[in-house]
């Protein structure tokens, strides 16, 4: 069984606790200290990495932990982004405290509706249905020109106002906002996955029939997990829209859903830190390849899909956690 090394997952010796938390602290310090050394361009890439990391860990809750093959996860990112964007561009709302929660709420409501229908089927059928809904929403975004701007996209989205006097958004303050959101989401999701509820989700992934026999209402567990994942994807969405300054129908559809699925799988589904690494890898690779041959990026992306399936079974995160266990054998061991 795959299991994450998470803060608090093995509490016994104090030094052990330090060891499992150590990498997170170091990475957090690096991420906090980086902005002054980066140009705005590189900072925007780093911001994008963190937003996609939020997006990827939200998918991981249902894909990695619960075992639901969702290929329509971009729908919630897109709905949150579009909602926030429409409120700002079409209705002139500019308060951070109104726009952001409403965007996230919209994603949660969409997940509640779609999940209710999609969870009637399981396995690959679930995948097909979620995929169909994602495409349906991207068609809505194309057809509803008056609201969404159609294929031209909804442009002119900015970061909503925090309401603090004398405060204006800069790329680095926006980066810190994204960082805080990422840290909060990561913490919350690690609490959720380590809670009895999260354990039950893993149980459903491993053997749903057995969980039913044990008296768990597996449908409700899956449904709630689906909605939670939608809400977290919404958090990624409301940050995504101001970063890109535009929402286009493709953000709701298949290509975005497939990309985030790849991030989760490359990084190791069923761990929280894995998808973060996956998100960083895919975003950075896209950036690097696009500077050399933007035309051939889909070809290379397709190659990454194939290679990750054939040669990196389980994902990079598994290898990293194995390595980390080797480094510190004297402090007990983490199950895997």
């Amino acid at each position: 069984m795959k299991k994450a090394i998470l803060p608090g997952s093995n509490l016994q010796p104090r030094r052990d606790w330090l060891f499992s938390l150590g990498p997170y602290v170091i990475i957090a310090i690096i991420l906090l200290a980086l902005p002054p050394f980066l140009s705005n361009y590189h900072l925007s890439i780093l911001t994008k990495v963190l937003i996609f990391a939020i997006f990827a860990i939200s998918l991981d809750l249902i894909l990695g932990y619960t075992g639901l093959l969702s290929l329509g996860h971009a729908a919630y990112l897109g709905i949150a982004g579009y909602t926030a964007g429409i409120l700002m561009v079409r209705y002139g709302l500019d308060s951070f405290w109104v726009v952001m929660p409403l965007g996230i709420l919209a994603a949660g409501i969409a997940a509640a509706i779609i999940g209710y229908i999609a969870l009637r089927v399981s396995g690959v059928y679930f995948l097909l249905v979620t995929l169909a809904f994602g495409q349906l929403l991207s068609v809505v975004a194309i057809k509803w020109r008056g609201m969404t701007g159609g294929t031209d996209g909804l442009f002119g989205i900015s970061v909503p106002d925090l309401g603090l006097p004398g405060f204006a958004w800069t790329p680095s303050s926006f980066y810190y906002l994204v960082f805080i959101a990422f840290a909060v989401c990561f913490f919350l999701l690690s609490r959720i996955t380590n809670s009895p509820f999260g354990r039950a989700l893993v149980g459903i992934r491993e053997n749903e029939a057995r969980m039913q026999c044990l008296g768990y209402n597996t449908w409700a567990h899956k449904y709630i997990a689906f909605i939670i994942a939608g809400l977290f994807a919404g958090v990624a969405g409301v940050l995504f829209a101001p970063l890109y300054k535009i929402m286009v129908p493709a953000h709701l559809g298949l290509t975005t859903s497939a990309a985030v699925m790849l991030m989760v799988i490359i990084g190791s589904a069923g761990t929280l830190f894995g998808p973060v690494i996956g998100a960083a890898l895919v975003v950075l690779l896209e950036r690097i390849v696009s500077t050399y041959t933007p035309e051939r990026w889909p070809l290379i992306l397709g190659g990454i899909f194939v290679i990750s399936v054939l040669f990196m079974r389980g994902g990079l995160g598994i290898y990293l956690s194995r390595f980390w266990r080797k480094v510190r054998p004297q402090y007990g061991n983490v199950e895997s």
């Binding site: 229908i117 009637r120 690959v124 995948l127 097909l128 699925m261 790849l262 397709g302 899909f305 054939l310």
Partner: protein, 293 residues
């Protein structure tokens, strides 16, 4: 009345294309539990290769024959691609659904980008041979000849596939494999070869439709995903694993789409999703589905 009848024929002809798109997906899903997301991309490649070959042959064998050659070439090419995908990659991934999904998505990206590399980003126009151009009048309405041809061709294909699955020994093995894989293998049947054959057959049918469906769906780089989506809706509505299911699903969706476009032009694209949602709410295994896993 004329409107109803005309739309009926338009819907049926679209429905048969949908049926052809859906069967391959339905067979591989029903038998092998593989969801081949590259199914639409194979259809797209079939279209591109078909047009290219037909154009090349036009000077050699004439316009009409070159159309037939193009269709066969498209089907053969994707059949071979399917063979390659199954034996080279998917064979190692049985029962690993997530990996199959990722692999086939990877193939969509690769095939689409290769098509763009070879044929450029501009959509190709289909080929209409002389015997399919023009239109005929039936019962007071005018219908393009190619729609009639699609209906006839679809009927023949449906009958052929039904006969294959229900009345031949191989078909019996395929049905047995869908119902109980272990038992079938226990009887000494090499299901591996059957799997490869069915996957290649599905890929062949997809590519075969590429040129035939061109007047309705077009041949462009986006059609890989579009065709996949249509095939998926057909499979979910009709149910997996049977020729009849794909046929019913295709015809229902085709008719709903045709009438939807006439009566609710604003929401034309959404009518088929509405059917999908209703089916999922009230009959999740599809209209004629074999059991859902």
């Amino acid at each position: 009345m004329d409107v109803l009848l005309a739309n009926f024929l338009i819907g049926i002809s679209f429905g048969f294309i949908l049926f052809l798109l859906g069967t391959g997906l339905s067979l591989t899903m029903g038998l092998m539990r593989i969801v081949n997301l590259a199914h639409g991309a194979l259809y797209m490649i079939g279209g591109y290769v078909g047009v290219a070959v037909a154009r090349y042959c036009e000077g050699l064998v004439g316009r009409d024959l070159s159309f037939v050659v193009g269709i066969l070439a498209g089907g053969t090419c994707t059949g071979l691609l399917g063979l390659l995908m199954e034996t080279g990659f998917l064979r190692r991934l049985y029962k690993r659904e997530l990996d199959q999904v990722l692999l086939t998505i990877g193939f969509v990206y690769i095939l689409t980008n290769l098509a763009q590399w070879i044929w450029g980003p501009i959509p190709q126009s289909g080929i209409t041979p002389s015997f399919l151009s023009g239109s005929i009048r039936i019962a007071g309405i005018t219908l393009p000849m190619f729609r009639i041809a699609i209906i006839i061709f679809g009927l023949v294909a449906a009958a052929g596939l039904w006969f294959f699955q229900e009345r031949t020994k191989v078909g019996a093995i395929i049905r047995a494999g869908m119902d109980n894989k272990e038992m079938t293998m226990g009887l000494g049947i090499n299901l591996g070869i059957v799997f490869t054959g069915v996957f290649a057959l599905g890929a062949f049918i997809a590519g075969f439709c590429g040129l035939i469906g061109a007047p309705l769906l077009g041949i462009n780089l986006g059609v890989g995903w579009d065709a996949l989506l249509l095939a998926m809706i057909v499979v979910i509505v009709g149910g997996t694993g049977s020729i009849q299911g794909a046929l019913v699903g295709g015809l229902v969706i085709g008719l709903v789409d045709a009438y939807g476009k006439t009566f609710f032009p604003e929401f034309a694209y959404f009518t088929m999703y509405l059917v999908l949602i209703i089916i999922l709410l009230f009959r999740p295994s599809g209209l004629l589905g074999r059991r859902i896993q």
